[in-house]
């Protein structure tokens, strides 16, 4: 707690009227994190409290800074996919795609159609597994334990699929420049189809259990409203921005990296911009992703999974920025190449970093319990903030 150092002389004329002076209750500085269950890792939030109301919040990050931008300068392109896997560890596969895409664009290589489709399927699967965790976790942060377990339980199915296709549950490292490491295993497509139907049921379950709950609505509606204009100028992206009514999805509006335009799908926006809207949007997008995967499985072309790629990967001189719609928002890589086997400079633009940078503005004047709700609804991954 802070002690207010006030000159006693200031108070002496008031000594007689002491009773009329409102007692000065000092502000309390509370450290939320770096070890706190609501911070998904090591985010630290220094909040100045008046009672339970937040006066000022200052996020302190960097407890997990691994210096990836420096490390990329000392590695070759195939080695870097291992690094980018670990940026947003919940949707590792989706991290690889824009990086590999950038390298491919610089090298003017086009991956085979089958590889692109499988990339799309696995990216959407990463989105489902990330969002399922969110759908449960958000319930947990609002105080209900059961949804969290449902989230983990259902995510397991998608993780099993990712594991059986790529060999890694969390860090697939499955993309190669020009294609993929290997083809899907036998029977995977049928299994995937079953699982996606299960995911659709699971979404209904979350809709009933969490979103339909009046207490959940009372806790999240009108809390943590991000105005669309301000959100965009902070660089907030992805579902967080769509929940504020901005219909902007890089899968549709970005440079085409994956064959999203070959299937029928929708984007979802919500006009409210509050915590509830973010939950609503993510729930709809989970469902939509499952539908997209079902369509992609129908249209999955046959053919090779690797294009013709030189044995030693040397990327010609040039620079490019390639971004993609990651589960958490816009993820992009600005690669500057000088014609070597590794990049000269890689700027990694992560979604959570910008999403979280709005927190000082967003947390002003709300209660401590709502801080947790807002943190949960923004949905960040610490590795994605700290890189």
């Amino acid at each position: 707690m802070t002690s207010f150092e006030v000159d006693p002389k200031l108070y002496s004329p008031l000594a007689d009227s002491q009773l009329n002076v409102e007692l000065d209750t000092g502000d309390m500085i509370l450290n939320i994190g770096p070890q706190h269950p609501a911070t998904h890792g090591t985010l630290r939030l220094v909040v100045r409290l008046d009672g339970e109301r937040v006066i000022k919040a200052d996020p302190v990050i960097g407890y997990m800074h691994r210096g990836y931008e420096k490390l990329t300068e000392y590695r070759t392109y195939p080695q870097i996919t291992t690094l980018v896997n670990r940026i947003d560890w919940l949707s590792s596969f989706a991290n690889e795609v824009p990086f590999i895409g950038a390298a491919e664009k610089l090298m003017n290589i086009e991956a085979t159609p089958r590889a692109l489709y499988i990339r799309t399927i696995l990216t959407e699967m990463a989105r489902i597994s990330t969002f399922l965790l969110f759908l449960g976790e958000m319930g947990l942060q609002v105080g209900a334990i059961t949804p969290a377990f449902f989230g983990f339980r259902d995510r397991e199915y998608t993780l099993n699929l990712i594991e059986s296709a790529t060999g890694g549950r969390f860090h697939p490292n499955y993309n190669r420049i020009g294609g993929l490491k290997e083809d899907l295993p036998w029977g995977w497509v049928a299994e995937c189809r079953n699982t996606m139907k299960k995911m659709l049921d699971s979404c209904d379950e979350f809709e009933d259990l969490v979103m339909g709950n009046p207490i959940f609505q009372a806790r999240t509606r009108g809390i943590g409203i991000i105005p669309a204009e301000l959100g965009a100028s902070y660089g907030v992206s992805g579902s967080n921005l769509r929940a504020s009514g901005v219909d902007w999805d890089l899968r549709r509006d970005g440079e085409p990296l994956l064959p999203y335009n070959e299937i029928e799908w929708k984007t979802f926006t919500h006009q409210d911009g509050d915590s509830f809207a973010r939950y609503w949007v993510r729930l709809q997008e989970t469902r939509e992703s499952a539908r997209m995967i079902l369509q992609l499985l129908e249209q999955l072309p046959a053919g090779p999974i690797m294009a013709k790629v030189p044995r030693i990967i040397k990327v010609p001189e040039g620079e490019i920025y390639v971004n993609a719609e990651n589960p958490l928002g816009e993820m992009g890589y600005y690669i500057i190449s000088k014609g070597a086997t590794g990049p000269f400079r890689v700027k990694i633009r992560t979604a959570s970093f910008s999403n979280v940078s709005i927190l000082p503005w967003l947390l002003q004047g709300i209660y401590v319990p709502d801080v947790i709700t807002v943190l949960a609804s923004l949905y960040f991954i610490l590795g994605d903030i700290d890189r």
Binding site: I61, G62, H65, G67, E69, K70, E73, Y74, R75, T76, Q79, N108, A228, E229, A232, S233, Y234, G235, V236, L241, G245, V246, D247, W248, R252, D253, G254, E255, N261, E264, K266, T267, F268, T269, H270, Q271, D272, W280, E317, G318, E319, I320, Y321, G332, Y334, I336, K338, G339, A340, T341, G342, P343, F344, R345, K347, R349, F353, S354, S357, I358
Partner: protein, 246 residues
């Protein structure tokens, strides 16, 4: 903007909308990187450049294109003004990132003799600059984009003097620039004039040096080059690596 056809979301009573993904964007011709190093500028970017030039005029030193992005280099004095123009005049409401570049050649890893054996990339020894050029070693670059128009991006670059690395801050225009500039300051040592508080973002506050500058050694690699000079023996039955490559 070159294209303002944005499908307005159908608002139903609940305030929840779902729009069909309609892609109404001008066709962008594929960059012809294979034919020449400098790809021809697309029509959309040429139109955008014309609009930027109309606003900034003399402040634009050079321009180019990379991927779909238009890249312009502006004078250090007009850096802050460029942000205002981008956000308020050109409709770039979305801040993507701000970061820095150090164009100094990457020091070779693990000593001279390591070049042949490690798989660490060997970068050219001469200082060359990327698209839109540079005057010296340091540059700050930022990318802005629009949430209303598809497939458009503008990357701005500005030269930073090595002797006096100061440039205007974007915080007043894009509030999200706060953290990006703090990161850039701690990683490169560029001072953003007008930033409310340039504190360390990632690193401990007593940290010295600017890690992303090329002359800041990555000590782990100095001590032990990785994957190192270790000779990995082939699996029994497999041909030697030397033989396989020949």
């Amino acid at each position: 903007m070159a294209d303002d056809e944005v499908t307005s979301p159908d608002v139903d009573d609940a305030g929840e909308t779902a729009t069909v993904a309609t892609i109404e964007v001008p066709e962008v011709s594929a960059p012809e990187a294979a034919e020449s190093q400098v790809p021809a500028m697309t029509d959309a970017n040429a139109a955008l450049l014309a609009r930027v030039t109309a606003e900034l005029g003399e402040a634009i030193l050079e321009s180019g294109q990379a991927g779909v992005d238009l890249i312009i280099r502006v004078t250090p004095e007009s850096w802050a003004r460029a942000a205002e123009v981008c956000r308020h005049k050109l409709g770039f409401d979305y801040l993507c990132f701000i970061s820095g570049i150090d164009w100094l050649p990457t020091p070779s890893v693990g000593g001279e003799d390591a070049e042949s054996d490690t798989s660490a990339p060997v970068q050219p020894k001469t200082m060359t600059f990327g698209v839109a050029g540079s005057e010296g070693r340091f540059q700050v670059f930022a990318r802005v984009s629009s949430t209303r128009v598809a497939r458009v991006g503008l990357t701005l670059k500005v030269d930073i003097k090595e002797s006096k690395p100061v440039v205007g801050s974007w915080c007043g225009t894009y509030p999200g620039a706060d953290w990006h500039e703090r990161e850039c300051w701690e990683m490169y040592g560029f001072v953003f004039d007008g930033h409310p508080s340039l504190r360390h973002l990632y690193l401990p506050h007593e940290f010295e040096g600017f890690p992303l500058r090329k002359d800041f050694p990555l000590l782990a690699r100095e001590v032990k080059p990785w994957p190192g000079l270790v000779n990995v023996e082939g699996m029994p039955g497999e041909p030697d690596e030397e033989e396989a490559s020949t």
